[in-house]
């Protein structure tokens, strides 16, 4: 008997008698001999809680987290401060342990949270309908492409090279199943090349996919890109960084048809990449094609206000092969974190946070690009992330910075051959001016040391 089961010898005797068998073994008689496992599972024996804790602690100690170093690494997930109330609420039994709300009378807590979350996402994105969340950012981009396929039946997708590499790769994988072709639009400088986009558009293009700010941190001309796409009847799917939406114009106000994105920065931990959530909002006409769960407001038999999962015929379990997606979970707990975080930030807080990041990002870009051997990769407006060029091998510079306790950022060469000397640097409200100054010192030393090695003809 483990700590999680409770069958005593007395229980067992009683239960076997009620069933009418002699042993538990008999209950497995239906498994044919040919597929029986005739040996124990080849895994170590179980350990008591204290030992398991110790092992997980030892594994944790071999990771360098954002607690252990000064982190300027972003590229899709960011080291923001998660307030304590998020942890507390996400660990409440009533939110942590129930299933999807199939019995709404006893699930008003979860359903109302979904409704509030949907409201918050609608507000942020400027689009009237939001679902209750999808798995994460890149798969939300993929889901949006499927919606475009259902909406206009066209077979080609056009995606900007400024969209996160993981989103582009996920799209490539899913498009095979959708029977759609994906074409990439080059960047001009560091923003989507409008001429290249216009050249790629045609009446077989179902959707144009862009990111705001793009992967290089640059703010795109979303309105202009939307206009070009709409001229040819294509939908615009925009993946957006939600914490920039206090200062940047809402995608819905710029003509975006479907707005998606990675929700990790909204009250969720880094967790080495997941779980988090993806958000998905769209114009009214796409409501019945939306993937995932949607909560709707209604009344009960006594006229009380209440909430239910609605438009369930879109979902896999009813329409089966005609479903708008196969997704039957949302990321309800992570979305709870999201709406609590947005409530905590509040109407003014999201603006203040955005302005703070904007100013510090500018300061960081100025300070770092003034260092010897460091220059800007582009000059476009940025909000919280920017790209630099280094005159020394980026991986080696990053390694030196790490040894000095600073995570310098993302080596762009890992995803973009054309930016092999590029470094992507992210700012959050947790990186103070003093942190940025320390980073500048460390980076300056690292680049200088590597340049000196190069000059001395020392090979890697």
């Amino acid at each position: 008997m483990s700590g999680y089961t409770a069958v005593t010898p007395e229980d067992l005797e009683l239960m076997l008698a009620a069933i009418g068998v002699e042993s538990i073994e008999q209950l497995f008689d239906g498994i044919p001999a040919g597929v029986r496992l005739d040996r124990p599972i080849d895994l170590p024996p179980g350990d008591p809680e204290q030992a398991v804790y110790a092992e997980l602690h030892r594994l944790a100690a071999r990771n360098t987290s954002t607690e252990d170093e000064l982190c300027f690494l972003g590229a899709g997930m960011y080291d923001h401060y998660v307030p304590a109330i998020v942890d507390m609420l996400m660990s409440r039994s009533e939110y942590l342990t129930p299933y999807t709300p199939y019995q709404p009378e006893v699930s008003q807590g979860g359903l109302q949270v979904m409704f509030e979350y949907q409201t918050a996402i609608s507000e942020l994105t400027g689009l009237p309908v939001s679902n209750a969340s999808l798995y994460e950012g890149p798969s939300a981009v993929g889901a949006a492409a499927y919606l475009a396929k259902l909406a206009n039946g066209r077979r080609r997708l056009v995606v900007s090279r400024g969209v996160h590499p993981h989103s582009r790769e996920t799209l490539d994988t899913l498009a095979v199943g959708y029977g759609m072709a994906v074409d990439e639009i080059a960047l001009d400088g560091a923003a989507t090349d409008l001429d290249a986009l216009r050249a790629a558009l045609g009446d077989d293009v179902g959707a144009v996919i862009i990111q705001q700010p793009n992967f290089l941190g640059a703010i795109e001309e979303v309105q202009t890109l939307c206009a070009a796409a709409h001229e040819h009847g294509a939908l615009v799917i925009c993946s957006v960084d939600p914490l920039t939406l206090g200062v940047l114009e809402a995608p819905g106000a710029q003509g975006v048809d479907v707005c998606v994105g990675e929700g990790q920065t909204l009250g969720n931990r880094l967790d080495f990449g997941g779980p988090s959530f993806g958000f998905f909002a769209a114009t009214e006409k796409h409501l019945r094609s939306m993937p995932g769960r949607i909560a709707g407001e209604t009344t009960d038999a006594d006229g009380r206000r209440g909430f239910v999962l609605t438009l369930q015929t879109r979902e896999q379990h009813i329409r089966r092969e005609k479903a708008t997606s196969n997704i039957c979970t949302s990321q309800a707990l992570n979305a709870l974190g999201g709406v609590v975080y947005l409530s905590w930030l509040g109407r003014r807080g999201i603006v203040e946070l955005g302005e703070l990041m904007l100013q510090r990002t500018h300061y960081a870009r100025e300070t770092l690009s003034a260092l010897d051997g460091v220059s800007r990769l582009h000059d476009l407006p940025v909000v919280r992330e920017f790209a630099l060029r280094l005159d020394a091998p980026v991986d080696r510079v990053v390694e030196r910075c790490a040894a000095a306790g600073v995570n310098a950022g993302y080596a762009l060469g890992r995803s973009y051959d054309e930016y092999s000397d590029g470094l992507l640097v992210a700012i959050t409200e947790q990186r103070s001016r003093a942190d940025i100054d320390r980073f500048a010192e460390v980076l300056g030393n690292a680049v200088a040391a590597e340049c000196a090695l190069q000059d001395a003809g020392v090979t890697a």
Binding site: Y4, A6, V7, D11, L14, M15, G30, P32, I41, L43, E49, H57, L59, A60, R62, L89, E94, L96, T97, P98, Y99, P101, E105, V106, Q108, G109, Q112, E116, S122, S130, D172, G177, V222, V247, L248, R269, L270, D271, F272, F277, G296, D300, A301, R304, V308, T310, Q316, I318, E321, T329, Q331, L336, V340, S343, W344, I350, L356, N407, R433, I436
Partner: protein
């Protein structure tokens, strides 16, 4: 409870539901921004790109936010609080150790793009978990990337597609039994295949003759779960596997029912090529009200080249100083990525802790007690209410079973739905209702191994009481529930004129 509750409504019920947007007041705040410590510069963003009005988020203090969400939570029934026998969902206890270890900063605050040298703890955990899942599945190669069961299924069908394409074949159909979870057909369509249904035989297993007739050179895959959603282990699984492989198709295992067979049988040994696990079912990841979960997959040797990229891999110790555990992107035949980064690591941490806590014997015990509890519950219900709620197929079951409410409806005039709603008044969550579709007025019951005999007896007593009550007055169940925060809701109205956000 055989009388209609009087008065009934609690203060909380009378209180009208108000959202967070209806709370707070202009000027209130919970967040304080750190002070601006750099020079303020104008014009960093062109005016045309700037937001005009701030978004209409709430303005509330921390105590207001806390009180709102804490009170709201009390309108939820949850697994920690009571019995939750949802068939097909495996609502087993969520050990709290897992929350503690997942929250360790070394795991929780680790950036996904941290270089492998400084993420060896995480990569080792993932590698060891891959090995453990491979052993449990009986298939050697594992990807931890998929985010949920349905995501793992999509991966499986895309892997199938890649496998056939690599052999120069263009297959068009995926076979799935009539009792399959709704996810399967939707997944198939999204992967570009046509769904073909295979019938069930009288015992509730796959109709082997029908399968034989339908499986041909156009068949890409058969998607199955074993035991099935009827809770029955298909005795013909070896023949089914042979038929599928003879036509060159793949055999896919939906791991939703893995809780029934650990230590007794492995899908790989049954002949499956691709298996997905539901870490939020079998492996205790808390359901969170509908996510997060994770759906890792295990595959046979011939499918391995197509696994998603990256894979967590392992180098021998003497490799010139490179990190032992790393992310392998060099997979030329891979189907590519299915999502950002490498998967729901937080869920993987919990699963790893669970497997380390239970070990080989503990996992086997899970299945033994899951099956014992289900059969005990089945036997007791048969004794008490078997005439009105008979077992739909067979005599015994594995970890779950399906009753039909058709006789109940005919004899006493209450439906499975009414039974479920009345059960809410007894402080229990109902089983899954109206699934699988092949059973009329279905009630799919899965107690799991973490429930005590006393709880199972209490459930039986509640069902029996409701049936007795219905014999006297069916109206009571038809208008239930009475004691929950809201009563039956107008779902048709919500679908006709959807209101999916607060008007602000």
């Amino acid at each position: 409870m055989s009388t209609i509750p009087e008065g009934g409504a609690t203060a909380q019920q009378r209180e009208r539901a108000t959202t967070i947007f209806e709370k707070g007041a202009p000027g209130r705040r919970a967040f304080t921004a750190p002070p601006l410590d750099v020079p303020a510069v104008d014009g960093l963003i062109p005016a045309r790109m700037r937001r005009g009005e701030p978004p209409l988020l709430p303005e509330a203090s921390e105590p207001e936010i806390v009180r709102h969400y804490v009170n709201l939570s009390k309108r939820n029934f949850d697994l920690d609080s009571g019995f939750y026998p949802l068939g097909s969902c495996t609502m087993k206890h969520n050990p709290r150790l897992h929350e503690r270890v997942a929250a360790l900063p070394g795991h929780a605050r680790l950036h996904p793009l941290q270089v492998p040298r400084r993420a060896q703890g995480a990569l080792e955990l993932m590698f060891r978990l891959q090995e453990a899942l491979a052993e449990i599945a009986g298939l050697p190669h594992v990807s931890l990337q998929p985010s949920a069961g349905s995501h793992g299924e999509l991966a499986g069908v895309l892997l199938t597609r890649a496998y056939h394409a690599d052999r120069g074949e263009q297959r068009t159909k995926v076979l799935t039994p009539d009792s399959a979870h709704g996810t399967n057909p939707a997944t198939v369509t999204m992967a570009g295949y046509e769904v073909v249904k295979v019938s069930l035989d009288a015992a509730g297993g796959v109709d082997v003759e029908d399968l034989r007739a339908k499986a041909d050179e156009h068949t890409a895959c058969l998607m199955l779960t074993n035991p099935s959603t009827l809770g029955i282990f298909d005795p013909n699984i070896q023949e089914i596997s042979a038929i599928v492989h003879r036509v060159g198709a793949t055999l896919y295992y939906d791991g939703a029912n893995l809780n029934a067979i650990m230590g007794y049988s492995r899908p790989g040994d049954m002949g499956f090529d691709i298996v997905h696990f539901n870490l939020h079912k079998t492996f205790t990841q808390p359901h969170g009200g509908g996510g997060p979960g994770a759906g890792p997959i295990a595959v046979s040797e011939r499918i391995a080249p197509f696994l998603p990229r990256p894979q967590v891999s392992h180098r021998p110790p003497d490799n010139g100083g490179l990190p032992t555990f790393h992310l392998d992107y060099d997979r030329p035949k891979s189907i590519g990525r299915l999502r950002g980064f490498q998967g729901n690591y937080g869920v993987l941490v919990r699963t790893y802790a669970y497997i380390r806590s239970l070990g080989a014997e503990g996992l086997k015990e899970v299945s033994e007690v899951a099956v014992l509890n289900a059969n005990y519950l089945l036997a007791r219900l048969r004794d008490e209410v078997g005439e009105h709620l008979p077992l739909a197929f067979g005599e015994r079951c594995m970890h779950e079973f399906v009753l039909s409410g058709a006789p109940l409806k005919k004899a006493l005039g209450i439906r499975t739905l009414d039974l479920a709603k009345r059960l809410l008044d007894h402080g229990m969550h109902p089983p899954t209702v109206y699934f699988p579709l092949v059973v009329e007025e279905a009630l799919l019951i899965e107690p799991t191994e973490t429930e005590t005999r006393e709880t199972l007896d209490a459930f039986v007593a509640a069902i029996a009481a409701i049936v007795r009550e219905a014999a006297e007055d069916p109206q009571i169940a038809r208008n239930a529930p009475y004691t929950t925060p809201v009563r039956r809701l107008d779902e048709a109205g919500a679908a006709k004129r959807p209101r999916v956000r607060q008007a602000l």
